[in-house]
């Protein structure tokens, strides 16, 4: 069993974000297609073309999610947020057909997280999006769990390659459980081991010396 004393701040659940979570910060850095519904004077340099002094009304630009969330207001029209492709109807049909074949890492990698965050913006399709995310998770979960419980002592990179970040975390905890159980079965659970932090530091030092 591996006792880890470093426990990072866990990401928030559902629509909540956790302020200190590194995962959530990176998730909220994902870019969303937006349209400005008002002019932003003096900020023209942020836009791709960057020739004008202002960002005029009606500009299409990509904004990180944290900014869209901060600027978005239901009553006043400051910006409108469009759905990223993966959450639109076309892709929802694909997920509905067989969610297992989709490479969620390429599509996301924060497919579930970003999808839940999209619900903050008013959109007629919101109920369908929520439903589709949930169904996708349910239909993929079985395979994730199976593979994490049965891949012992083998290269798992092929198995995790197509998983979303949330699924990867689940896969990892499944693997930790499996390894701990195998250790216990062989009567090794009470063996004292070197801290993984220490061994990893040493590995790094050796590679640094070699390069």
């Amino acid at each position: 069993m591996d006792t880890q004393s470093y426990m990072p701040v866990p990401p928030g659940v559902g629509m909540e974000e956790n302020f200190f979570s590194l995962d959530d910060i990176l998730l909220s850095h994902e870019r969303l297609p937006c349209r400005t519904d008002t002019a932003f004077p003096k900020l023209g340099f942020l836009e791709k073309a960057g020739e004008t002094h202002d960002i005029p009304e009606g500009t299409k630009m990509e904004m990180p999610m944290w900014l869209a969330k901060g600027l978005y207001e239901r009553k006043r029209h400051v910006i409108s947020v469009e759905l990223p492709k993966v959450y639109r109807e076309g892709w929802r049909t694909v997920f509905g057909a067989d969610a297992n074949v989709v490479d969620l890492h390429k599509m996301g990698p924060y497919y579930y997280g970003l999808g839940s965050q999209m619900l903050h913006f008013e959109n007629a399709e919101n109920p369908e999006i929520a439903q589709s995310i949930l169904q996708t998770f349910i239909s993929r979960f079985r395979r994730t769990m199976d593979s994490s419980q049965n891949a012992y002592n083998e290269d798992t990179s092929v198995l995790v390659e197509r998983l979303d970040c949330l699924e990867r975390a689940l896969f990892r905890s499944g693997q930790n459980g499996l390894n701990a159980f195998q250790l216990w079965e062989r009567g090794r659970a009470s063996q004292l081991t070197a801290s993984s932090l220490v061994t990893n530091y040493r590995k790094r030092k050796i590679t640094e010396l070699q390069s």
Binding site: V9, L26, R188, S190, T193, S196, V198, K205
Partner: protein, 196 residues
């Protein structure tokens, strides 16, 4: 776009998800603070302009910058906080004395924090279990016997055990030692616990 530098800080920690402590990125922090200062000053002058000249069209821009300020604040706070979590973990993995390579990765305030944490933990442990105190960093796994068989993985020099005998920890030598004496050395990778 604003806040790219701040996210870079967060990415740097996220890449080392196993809890290692990368060097304190003083330069990165400074750049973020500079960006924040610039954003704040621009906002101040625009707020004044909006107030005195009634330029309400500036408000979206002000809000835009304000969001960026908050974002920078969040990233920096998360960076510092996550580092503290890592530093706290070091106390439990390495014991109270850290190797110099790791100390070089900490800034002055972090070293100070580590020392304070060490003291708090020591005071707490002294207050437990009667006169002698209780070392709660020991026996992370329930012990099965008082003595255990260990093998030396590298030369560590002389080592004194409870009854006063001094033994030489030489590479590849094997010993039968009191468990509580060697638990830390095992964690540090000097000894290896042998189960036959």
């Amino acid at each position: 776009m604003f806040c790219e530098k701040a996210v870079e800080l967060v990415r740097e920690l996220h890449r080392m998800s196993d809890g290692q402590l990368p060097a304190f990125n003083e330069d990165g922090i400074r750049q973020v603070l500079e960006e924040m200062k610039a954003l704040y000053e621009q906002n101040q002058s625009d707020v004044n302009e909006a107030k005195t000249e009634g330029k309400t069209e500036l408000i979206p821009t002000i809000k835009f910058r304000h969001c960026s300020l908050l974002r920078n604040q969040r990233c920096t706070a998360a960076y510092l906080y996550d580092r503290l979590l890592r530093i706290r973990a070091l106390r439990w993995e390495y014991g109270s004395v850290l190797p110099t390579t790791i100390r070089f990765h900490m800034c002055a305030e972090e070293l100070e924090w580590f020392n304070q944490y060490k003291k708090s933990l020591a005071t707490y442990m002294r207050s437990l279990g009667g006169e002698e105190g209780l070392d709660i960093t020991q026996d992370m796994k329930p012990p099965k016997s008082l003595y255990i068989e260990v093998r030396c993985l590298k030369d560590h020099g002389e080592f004194e055990i409870d009854d006063g005998t001094v033994i030489l920890l030489k590479k590849n030598s094997q010993h039968f030692l009191p468990r509580w004496k060697c638990e830390q050395l095992i964690r540090q990778g000097v000894l290896e616990h042998v189960i036959s």
